[in-house]
């Protein structure tokens, strides 16, 4: 399989449109407000599409079909859980946070809990999750570079880092909001068109299901009602429910989506943007489910590399790709989605998919890099340690931070620590169980206290990181309960619920914040205030 000019042209068209959007909006990002929150003038559809593109990362585009490919039908519920978590954000965090109108994710923690040091404390899990996401975005971009150019993975990672760096370097939130909205549309069209090809290839949903069952008889099996589950991780209800909840609350409390609520024109636009994000994201996920479901049968029956000597299965083909292109770590399994589309032998489809894949990877990298830039520059250097640099020269500061973030992430992307979806799941749980309770309950509960917020963030960050790494190292999978390998607990998801209970209990026994703070940052942010 060589380089196809149509695929390259498709990708170049994508980059040309992106460059044009960045160029035409460059004048807008000249002062701090414009640069950080797009002057708060983004409409609901544009913001909704940008929200979807930022929230959905290569972990979605590559990782979710790869996990359906590995775990079978029960993993469909994880995708339902992700989209189902989006509407919750409308009233839970989007509207209140837009009413509060901060600049950065950590502003709320510092104001609600009355100390600038909360920026540093909330910054710890955010930095861990943020770097994880920039790494997986570079890995995702690199895998699509590999699909387009058929070059070695190391070269692909360097190219990906350059592309991501250039993209963020020349634009702030204004450029990234409008270009990200375009990316949201691109990735959705790519997933829907690819799914249409898959369904048409088998003559409809019944044909696809029959082909899948003929190839993998256990694919649609569920725990308790079938002798053999679709996968060991789907042999208990906790596996199905755990994957459902791993990413479920992310849209409400993850910094890279929360900051997009700050950029809308008003509260009405913030609420409506979630509606558009559900439409755009739901359509894309519908496509990803079909691609993931058909991946194994497509690869094993139609991929040209199945003719290679010694390759007898989809896994064998991916192993062959790993050797041929030097793909490091576990990432080659993430290539299964691209391999499934390659099997359809349509360069036009692959061109659309490559553009969609690049779009989603770059949008997420930009979103998270902006979060890290603002956190490291404005919040920590400026607000916590008193430097004037981030406020006086926001663009220069942000660009220096971009260099640091992208370079460090590129070094770590050469050998990814896990599958992109595993990196994503770990990042979600770490941030959700630590920063989630002080954010959500800070708005909706007057009893939330400073001591509880600080303790919860530090303790939950440690516990979630430790248990994930322990299970991943000792049990060889982060999806088993770290204290007992016989229990399936995807990504140690229970910490999210434990975090909320822990935060409430701590708040009950520690001193409350001042009445003025509670009024301003809790009661006044609610709908009736």
């Amino acid at each position: 399989m060589g380089v196809n000019p149509i695929v390259i042209i498709g990708s170049l068209i994508y980059f040309a449109i992106l460059f044009w959007i960045g160029w035409s909006s460059r004048k807008a990002s000249t002062d701090a407000s414009e640069f950080y929150v797009a002057g708060r003038k983004v409409g609901p559809f544009v913001n909704g599409s940008a929200l979807a593109a930022t929230y959905f990362s290569p972990a979605s585009f590559l990782g979710l079909p790869a996990f359906i490919f590995i775990l079978g039908y029960p993993f469909w519920w994880a995708l339902v859980g992700i989209i189902g978590g989006m509407p919750i954000a409308t009233l839970l965090t989007a509207a209140p946070l837009r009413k509060y109108a901060p600049t950065s994710f950590t502003d709320y923690y510092a104001d609600r809990y009355e100390t600038k040091w909360m920026r540093l404390i909330a910054g710890i899990p955010t930095i861990i999750g943020g770097f994880a996401y920039v790494i997986l975005s570079i890995v995702g971009t690199a895998l699509f570079m590999l699909a387009i150019l058929k070059v070695n993975f190391t070269v692909s990672v360097i190219l990906a880092a350059i592309v991501v760096f250039a993209y963020i370097f020349y634009g702030g939130m204004v450029a990234t909001t409008f270009s990200t909205a375009f990316q949201g549309i691109t990735m959705t069209v790519a997933a829907v068109v690819a799914a249409g090809y898959v369904i048409a290839n088998y003559g409809g949903l019944n044909g696809l299901t029959d082909a899948v069952l003929a190839n993998s008889p256990n694919f649609f099996n569920l725990p308790y009602v079938n002798e053999t589950p679709s996968h060991k991780l789907m042999s208990m209800w906790t596996g199905v429910v755990g994957f459902f909840f791993t990413w479920h609350f992310g849209f409400s409390a993850l910094p890279y989506t929360v900051v997009r609520f700050f950029t809308t024109q008003d509260i009405k636009a913030a609420r409506r943007s979630v509606f558009w994000a559900v439409i755009v994201g739901g359509a894309m996920y519908g496509g990803l489910i079909i691609i993931g479901t058909g991946a194994r049968v497509l690869i094993e029956t139609m991929h040209p590399l199945m003719q290679t000597e010694g390759v007898t299965s989809a896994i064998g083909l991916l192993k062959h790709m790993k050797t041929a292109f030097g793909v490091a770590g576990a990432s080659v399994t993430d290539y299964s989605m691209i391999a499934a589309v390659e099997a359809l032998k349509s360069p036009f489809l692959l061109a659309i998919l490559a553009a969609g894949g690049l779009a989603i990877a770059m949008a997420t990298a930009a979103g998270w890099t902006m979060v890290l830039n603002v956190l490291l520059g404005r919040d920590l250097l400026g607000k916590v340690f008193g430097s004037q640099w981030p406020e006086e020269k926001p663009i220069q500061c942000t660009r220096v931070m971009t260099v640091v973030v992208v370079f460090v992430s590129m070094l770590l992307a050469f050998k990814p620590p896990a599958l992109v979806l595993d990196i994503s799941g770990a990042a979600f749980i770490v941030i959700l169980c630590s920063c989630g309770p002080p954010l959500v309950l800070g708005i909706w509960w007057t009893g939330a206290t400073k001591a509880a917020a600080a303790t919860n963030i530090l303790v939950m960050t440690f516990l979630s990181c430790f248990s994930w790494m322990y299970a991943n190292t000792v049990h060889k999978s982060a999806h088993f309960f770290f204290l007992d390998k016989s229990i399936v607990t995807p990504h140690q998801f229970y910490w999210v619920f434990v975090g909320f209970i822990f935060f409430i209990l701590l708040s009950l026994v520690t001193p409350k914040c001042s009445d003025e703070t509670i009024q301003k940052y809790s009661l006044d942010l609610r709908p009736d205030a």
Binding site: W77, I83, V274, G286
Partner: protein, 78 residues
């Protein structure tokens, strides 16, 4: 806790979680449930792929912004 949260929020949550966990429960108690034919295709494409993934969430997110806008308009008129 959650004082002032519009009622529609809880209704939407009940609809979304109710739908998902009801069908998860059926799948884990009735053998072969996802593949039982419904409207000419395996049932999972209807209750999971079309409704669980998309339609229910579109309806819920629509209700969340529409009902709030309606409430705010009524409040302004008062």
């Amino acid at each position: 806790m959650f004082k002032g949260m519009p009622k529609i929020f809880w209704i939407g949550m009940c609809v979304m979680y109710g739908w998902c966990f009801f069908f998860m429960f059926l799948e884990m108690t009735i053998p072969g449930f996802p593949l039982k034919p419904l409207f000419g295709v395996p049932a999972c494409y209807i209750y999971n792929w079309i409704f669980g993934l998309w339609i229910i969430n579109i309806i819920v997110s629509f209700l969340y912004f529409y009902m709030e806008e309606k409430r705010e308009a009524a409040q302004e008129n008062k």
